[in-house]
């Protein structure tokens, strides 16, 4: 991954439709420390708008969003 960010957790959310991606990411982010970063991979097209909405509402940050084929990788930093 880019810019020397250390990913402490990889989250496989492929083939999970709404509401599971946000439900699982909300749980996973509580399992890492504030300031740490996780990477979530999803195939749910709704996640493209849902993840930023989730981050805004919970006060966490999405550092990067990369699309490869039908997969989207979100790099998420726990801020709260």
């Amino acid at each position: 991954m880019s810019d020397g960010i250390t990913i402490v957790k990889e989250l496989d959310l492929r083939n999970l439709p709404c509401p599971m991606p946000v439900v699982k990411v909300s749980k996973a982010v509580k399992e890492i420390q504030v300031g740490q970063v996780l990477r979530a991979t999803t195939t749910d097209p709704g996640a493209l708008t849902d993840f930023p909405a989730w981050a805004k509402s919970t006060g966490n940050a999405i550092l990067a969003t990369e699309e490869t084929g039908n997969e989207t990788h979100f790099t998420i930093k726990r801020l709260k």
Binding site: N15, L16, P17, C18, P19, M20, V22, V23, V25, S26, K27, A53, W54, S57, T58
Partner: protein, 182 residues
């Protein structure tokens, strides 16, 4: 001069405190009136989603929605004829809920369940389990319980399950940012 300023400050402070007290909290309150599968799915997806967004979430079950929370494994006796009849006619719990449209005598609902499974969509009983995990609160309307002739012993085991009336819902709803009727 200083005294008037101090008095004004105190007055402002009091007003800010009053406003803060009246501001809605980060809560979601949903009325689940319908006992239909499709509507219940929407309610539980919104509820679990809200919990994931860090919002305190409450589902208030009333009227037809009440039958969604019956436990299929439990049966109770000692009901009068009307209650027994009602109990037999209403779906016994979430696994028995049917679609509000295109049910076609159960065939449509069966097709929807198959479709959901193939698309990896959580079933209603799975969503209820998830709601439990996410600490979504559930309140059941007492009046509906008695109208439908349901007894508390036949409802699902759910942590913190409450039986309440309209005031409980309104108190919650008044302090919520989102209120929905499903």
């Amino acid at each position: 001069m200083d005294e008037t300023l101090a008095a004004q400050m105190a007055q402002l402070q009091a007003r800010v405190e009053a406003l803060e007290g009246a501001a809605p909290e980060n809560r979601v309150s949903l009325v689940v009136f319908s006992g239909d599968l499709d509507k219940a799915l929407a309610a539980f997806i919104i509820a679990t989603g809200a919990a994931a967004m860090g919002m305190e979430t409450m589902l208030f079950f009333t009227f037809w929605g009440t039958s969604l929370l019956r436990d299929p494994a439990k049966s109770v006796g000692g009901k009068d004829a009307m209650s027994t009849m009602f109990g037999a006619m209403l779906p016994k719990g979430a696994p028995k809920a049917t679609l509000s449209k295109m049910n076609f005598g159960g065939m449509g609902t069966a097709m929807m369940r198959t479709l959901m499974k193939s698309k990896n969509v959580a079933s209603l009983p799975q969503l209820i389990e998830l709601a439990k995990e996410m600490e979504v609160k559930i309140c059941i309307c007492d009046l509906s319980m008695s109208l439908m002739g349901f007894k508390r012993e036949e409802m699902i085991d759910y942590p913190g399950l409450q039986y309440c009336g309209v005031a409980t819902f309104l108190e919650q709803a008044a302090n919520s940012k989102v209120q929905l009727f499903i």
